[in-house]
């Protein structure tokens, strides 16, 4: 489905340049699920942005179905790769109703049977027709994220980029959204790249997981091994230990890896 090879991303130029991603490789088969975990600033979200064409790629190649992507993403790419953002309060236009958001997606890609598509996708993400003409400020965080998921899925993409889709939500709502995503994956045969700082969530949602630190992939393992704490790299083991909740003994042993 998608292959990333020696990807580098540098924000800014000259003295203010910041290398956020320093050469990473991974591959994802069609229908597969891949997780990227790491602490804040490890470059995991930047990888997603680079794939979506929102970050300046300064090195390496990204291939979609074997074809390398250029600097500009075409309509075909947009139709097959969609993204869900972290903050459901910021990713919906404050003046657009749910209906407008979904209708616009259809208009951009020239889809037919728009009325039927909108009604069906709202139903699929668990928002009834009552939500169709609401504005974002009339929705809760979880409902907004459902709208964002509906917006991504209405064009029937093959790959979904999920940028911490639940980290801005309450724990109970998080579980709902994760379950919804798993159901939708089953129904649509989606592949996804799931970025999160939560190891438990990623282990649950993905088949393979890469642990990132400081712009590089430290270790790539099967979700099974992550769940069993079967990790080789010291940084990966430290992240896992830290993720099990606050523990003074662990906190004292934390080391900065480069």
């Amino acid at each position: 489905m998608i292959e990333v090879e020696a990807l580098e991303v540098t924000w800014g130029r000259g003295a203010r340049a910041h290398r956020a991603v320093k050469g990473i490789d991974f591959a994802l088969p069609a229908g597969g699920t891949f997780g990227l975990v790491g602490e804040s600033g490890s470059g995991k979200s930047t990888v997603l942005k680079a794939i979506a064409g929102l970050a300046p790629v300064t090195g390496g190649v990204i291939r979609l179905s074997g074809r390398p992507l250029g600097a500009r993403r075409d309509k075909g790419f947009r139709k097959s790769v969609q993204m869900v953002f972290q903050d459901p309060y910021g990713s919906l236009h404050p003046r657009h109703t749910v209906d407008r958001v979904l209708a616009e997606a259809c208009a951009i890609h020239g889809l037919d049977r728009r009325e039927a598509r909108i009604v069906r996708i709202l139903d699929e993400v668990g928002l009834g027709p009552a939500f169709r003409f609401r504005y974002p400020h009339e929705l809760s965080g979880g409902q907004r994220q459902r709208v964002a998921i509906a917006r991504a899925l209405i064009v029937e993409p093959a790959l979904l980029l999920l940028d911490e889709p639940t980290s801005a939500l309450d724990v109970s709502v998080q579980a709902e959204i994760l379950n919804l995503l798993l159901d939708l994956k089953e129904a649509h045969g989606l592949a996804w790249i799931f970025v999160s700082h939560n190891l438990a969530v990623v282990a649950q949602m993905c088949e393979r997981v890469a642990i990132m630190n400081n712009g590089r992939i430290v270790e790539e393992v099967a979700a099974r091994d992550l769940a069993r704490a079967n990790l080789r790299e010291p940084y990966a083991r430290q992240l896992l230990a830290a993720s099990r909740g606050f523990d003074r003994a662990v906190a004292r042993t934390l080391v900065t890896y480069d």
Partner: protein, 300 residues
């Protein structure tokens, strides 16, 4: 009527048209709750009404001279008195409202879209487009507005059309600045990134996503500036570069009344009061609109 109200307040709208009507209805309810804004709206509507019904309410021609009755004070015959050529001031103010309305309308039509376009394009695209457009804006901003309008009106030749054009050409830069500043805060938000990921073209993002968010502040600024625009038009008229005699333009009327301002005050005071009322109306309307259209209020 009750059917319409039920349709407008139904909790779950059934169609796009109903949803849009409900959003407008909510905004109207918020606007209606502000008495000063309603007063402003009333004054502006009054201006429109007077302009539309000028032939019927003026009573006589604004050009009809009656030299025997020149400079007569307000009376039952001449409600607001007569000017130095014996023309009825009431009729001239009523007919002059058409000129004022034309100034307001044409300036809005030119300034709003032009300022929005320049500002949003500069802010959204950034880079050299931004540099070129903003330096151009700076050039216009570097001159005092009235002076630039004067120069333009003088170059184009005196006349109300040229005065309007001169005002419009000199009034857009602050709007471009305003729209650009708003665009800069919007440009990096997630919903614009989402629109890009969705595959939306740049014109679609500009017109569908950026402009609606800038529009409210531009509309508010326009209504607040309207008073200034009317006064600039009056100023150009006063200086002889706006409407030419015998056109009943309010600023030009004040200019001729200036000579009699101590003994026959009504010649200058009546059109002055008209300008004051209309300016006040637009100002109050702008203040009220600001409260209703503020994006932070949330509703559309």
């Amino acid at each position: 009527m009750s059917g319409l109200r039920a349709w407008l307040t139904e909790p779950v709208p059934h169609s796009r048209a109903q949803a849009r009507a409900q959003a407008w209805w909510l905004a109207w309810c918020a606007f209606r709750a502000n008495p000063m804004a309603m007063l402003g709206l009333g004054l502006v509507l009054l201006l429109v009404l007077v302009a539309l019904s000028a032939p019927w309410i003026a009573g006589r021609s604004p050009f009809e001279q009656d030299l025997a009755n020149r400079l007569s004070p307000p009376s039952a015959e001449h409600w607001l008195g007569t000017d130095e050529l014996g023309r009825d001031i009431w009729a001239r103010i009523v007919w002059g409202s058409r000129i004022t309305l034309a100034i307001v309308g044409i300036v809005v039509v030119i300034v709003g879209p032009l300022g929005l376009l320049v500002g949003t394009v500069a802010g959204y695209l950034g880079g050299w487009v931004d540099t070129v457009l903003m330096r151009l804006t700076d050039v216009f901003l570097a001159f005092p507005r009235l002076i630039l309008a004067l120069a333009l009106a003088a170059a184009l030749g005196p006349g109300i059309e040229n005065a309007i054009l001169a005002i419009a050409v000199t009034a857009w830069p602050p709007y471009a600045r305003l729209a650009r500043a708003e665009t800069l805060t919007i440009r990096n938000s997630d919903f614009i990134a989402a629109a890009i990921v969705q595959g939306a073209s740049t014109p679609r993002i500009l017109l569908g996503h950026v402009v609606p968010l800038c529009l409210s502040s531009v509309i508010v600024r326009l209504t607040l500036d309207m008073a200034g625009i009317i006064l600039t038009a009056a100023g150009l008229g006063f200086l002889g570069l706006g409407a030419q005699p015998p056109a009943p333009e309010w600023g030009a009327m004040i200019a001729t009344g200036r000579q009699y301002v101590l003994d026959q005050w009504w010649v200058a005071a009546m059109p002055g009061a008209a300008i004051f009322l209309v300016s006040l109306g637009f100002n109050l309307l702008g203040d009220g609109l600001r409260d209703v259209l503020d994006p932070k209020r949330g509703a559309g």
